[in-house]
């Protein structure tokens, strides 16, 4: 960037005038209006607030967040961290928050992958593939999400009972109680290996960035894959082996009413995830298609003329430009997935809305309950927005 391109007019400061306490002074008028507007808004908020508190008192409806420390007494089917009905409302709501995040995060990842594939398929030269993608997008986008969720849930309920469970391969059972998979018994060694993998991924990322920087300086390619292999595979496995290489598979088996052991995916979670993913993927597919089509054809031809291979054309030339179009609307879709996950109450998945609703029903503190729900969605949505804005700024067109 160079100073010479800046319009010199913008550098010229306006002449300073002393502030006159007169209505004819523009600045005085501006200050008066602003104070007035802020004052009015403040007064309205104060009035609503004090009336609410007063009326709650008159009607003897309990207020405050003291209930968070009381015993919840409500059973929750799915919990990522230990929970029992004797725990507090706070912990119950925390479980609800984690359940919301569990479906939102996995939903975002799956919808992105699935949506991108469909978007690319719709641009395919293969007539059948592109028509199938087109029909999928039209059908899925035009039906209400709630209807789709109830549809998936009804289908999953139609599966056979646990005693007649579908049993495609050893250890996998599909029944109306959900999908049961074998799972390793988690031990400390596995946690260490996972930690090593995470650190390895971080190191690989920095190494790759450094390698690219050096390559820009001297033009010599430096392969990243040996480092990646070492950090992501060899090191974690070595640590796991050093910790005694524990490997006990937890097979699900039918005992009493239900399956015990193994990893369980409940029909409620599965239906919600399936519904959110397929629905949002329809929108993401169109965003991806729009993004790719937004890159002028000349860019493809220019890249090919430079001798880049088709993969390189897509990766180095087209995608970086397409992403600039894709990312902002994609943020909206991620926010939609998160907020739409609240439809879980209709099919009995205990997300934050479900648990907060039960809480406010038991305690009668509707205003506090709704405030908690709003706070949770606001926090998640703002986090997604912040992250996506940061990412958007990172990939934005850098003009040199």
């Amino acid at each position: 960037m160079s100073q010479t391109t800046i319009d010199p007019r913008s550098l010229r400061a306006p002449p300073r005038r002393p502030l006159r306490l007169s209505w004819s002074d523009e600045r005085v008028r501006a200050i008066v209006w602003q104070v007035l507007v802020v004052g009015i808004i403040g007064a309205i908020v104060w009035w609503l607030w004090s009336n609410t508190v007063h009326n709650l008192e008159v009607r003897r409806i309990a207020t405050g967040f003291g209930f968070l420390g009381r015993e919840a007494g409500l059973p929750i089917a799915e919990n990522l961290i230990p929970y029992s009905p004797t725990d507090t409302y706070f912990r119950a709501l925390l479980i609800g928050l984690l359940n919301t995040l569990k479906v939102a995060v996995v939903g975002i990842v799956l919808a992105t992958v699935f949506g991108t594939l469909i978007g690319i398929a719709r641009l395919s030269k293969n007539w059948l593939l592109s028509k199938i993608a087109g029909v999928y997008i039209e059908v899925i986008r035009d039906l209400p999400l709630l209807l789709q969720l109830l549809f998936w849930y009804a289908i999953l309920q139609g599966l056979p009972g646990p005693r007649q469970a579908l049993h495609p391969v050893g250890g996998v059972f599909l029944s109306n109680r959900g999908l049961k998979l074998p799972w390793i018994e988690w031990q400390d060694a596995h946690s260490y290996a996972l930690l090593a993998f995470a650190l390895g991924a971080l190191f690989t990322w920095f190494y790759r960035r450094d390698a690219i920087r050096k390559r820009i300086l001297d033009g010599r390619p430096r392969p990243v894959w040996p480092v990646a292999l070492g950090c992501l595979l060899v090191l974690p496995v070595a640590i796991w082996a050093a910790a005694g290489a524990p490997w006990t598979v937890d097979w699900p088996e039918l005992r009493g009413f239900n399956f015990r052991g193994g990893l369980n995916m409940s029909p409620e979670y599965f239906a919600l995830l399936l519904g959110l993913t397929t629905y949002t993927a329809g929108f993401i597919a169109e965003i991806v298609r729009a993004g790719i089509l937004a890159v002028p054809h000349g860019q493809w031809e220019a890249a090919q003329a430079l001798g880049l291979r088709p993969g390189q054309v897509l990766k180095q030339v087209v995608l970086p430009q397409a992403l600039r179009v894709i990312i902002p609307p994609m943020t909206s879709q991620y926010l939609n997935i998160t907020k739409n996950s609240s439809l879980a109450v209709a099919i009995g998945y205990q997300d934050i809305v479900s648990i907060a609703n039960t809480t406010l029903n038991q305690t009668g503190q509707a205003i506090e309950g709704i405030a908690i729900i709003m706070l949770v969605y606001l926090s998640i949505s703002l986090s997604i927005s912040l992250f996506m804005n940061w990412y958007n700024a990172r990939i934005a067109l850098v003009e040199r």
């Binding site: 609503l48 009336n51 009326n55 008159v58 007494g73 109306n176 009493g256 239900n258 009668g364």
Partner: protein, 348 residues
């Protein structure tokens, strides 16, 4: 889809609650008498009654879309007491989770929908319970094919339960006390939790025994389902009104007592006109031939005649709606005749 309406209704209910609590000015609120329900009902010309979303025997629209059932007859009785006409009622179906908000926000005047009277609800939720019109208890229903004899055998089972109910909390307490592990499936709409149970998503369905009987009777083959013998809680189902409106609470409470007393004195829909000439002093007072009991309640002095003409006495309501689905009088028999729990204070 009924759900859309329901979600919308809930959202509106919440918004309405926020607004009603926030908006009225200090001056109005400081009179310390929250809206007078009786005047509001009279002014509107209609009683708004919160009922179940559809429970056989208690509240369910028939094939013509007319609401019928035990709880519905209580709405009709209160309407007859206030207006002399049992049909001036608008029914609002409410799920367990929205019912209290609906009452608090003024969306409904009266809750007549299988609601258990508990201390915390009575004190913290901004509502008062006028009278227990049905004594119930929580039980379990399972498929007969499972061959279960007792609820204690439910270790490891998946159990369907509606959220926001005392049932949900009792289930957790009972399981803890009996060291039974279970997986809950919680769905708000009664129709859908029942569908989940029928489809086999759950091994057992738990709610009030009367609700189990109603659900069982509504199935194509009721014999495929078995209600287990254990009753794990007390569920006094009561009529709810907004807190701080003693006058309206009195009307609802004494309408219930009237239905009990009418049964006690043998007054029914068929003989109500002859009973006006019955020489017993309490009957004379009750039916407004003597004294001004109706006026003391702020009603027409012939309110009792109107109520009994409209719905009959407690036994008639019970026999009309609950007997056909296999619910016995049990604890809901009159204390004065067969030693049950239903008992009316004197009309004096």
């Amino acid at each position: 889809m009924p759900q859309f309406g329901l979600f919308l209704k809930r959202a509106l209910g919440m918004a309405a609650l926020g607004l009603t609590l926030a908006l009225p000015g200090h001056a109005q609120a400081q009179q310390a008498a929250p809206a007078n329900t009786l005047d509001a009902v009279r002014g509107r010309g209609q009683l708004v009654c919160g009922v179940n979303t559809g429970l056989a025997g208690f509240a369910q629209p028939d094939s013509q879309g007319v609401w019928r059932g035990f709880d519905v007859d209580y709405c009709r009785a209160v309407s007859a007491a206030v207006f002399g006409d049992p049909n001036k009622v608008r029914y609002v179906p409410t799920t367990p989770q929205v019912r209290f908000t609906a009452l608090q926000s003024g969306e409904v005047d009266l809750l007549s929908r299988n609601t258990t009277w508990t201390l915390s609800r009575d004190t913290a939720l901004g509502l008062d319970f006028a009278a227990t019109n049905f004594f119930d208890g929580q039980g379990f229903m399972v498929r007969s094919s499972l061959g279960l004899k007792s609820a204690k055998e439910l270790e490891g089972a998946t159990i369907c339960v509606q959220p926001g109910t005392t049932t949900e909390q009792n289930l957790a307490d009972w399981a803890r006390a009996n060291r039974i592990r279970f997986t809950p499936v919680v769905i708000e709409r009664l129709e859908e939790i029942v569908a989940a149970f029928i489809s086999g998503r759950c091994d057992a369905f738990t709610t009030d025994v009367s609700g189990l009987a109603a659900t069982r009777s509504a199935q194509q083959k009721p014999d495929d389902y078995l209600i287990l013998p254990e009753v794990i809680s007390k569920e006094p189902l009561a009529l709810g009104v907004r807190q701080g409106d003693a006058r309206f609470a009195d009307i609802v409470r004494w309408t219930h007592f009237l239905l009990l007393s009418a049964e006690e004195f043998g007054i029914n829909q068929a003989n109500i006109d002859q009973m006006a000439n019955d020489p017993r002093p309490e009957v004379q007072r009750m039916l407004g031939r003597n004294g001004e009991l109706g006026k003391m309640l702020g009603l027409d002095n012939l309110w009792a005649v109107n109520v009994i003409k409209a719905v009959g006495n407690y036994a008639e309501i019970f026999d009309r709606h609950l007997k056909p689905i296999g619910i016995q009088r049990g604890p809901n028999a009159l204390w004065t005749t067969t030693g049950g729990l239903q008992y009316s204070p004197p009309f004096r």
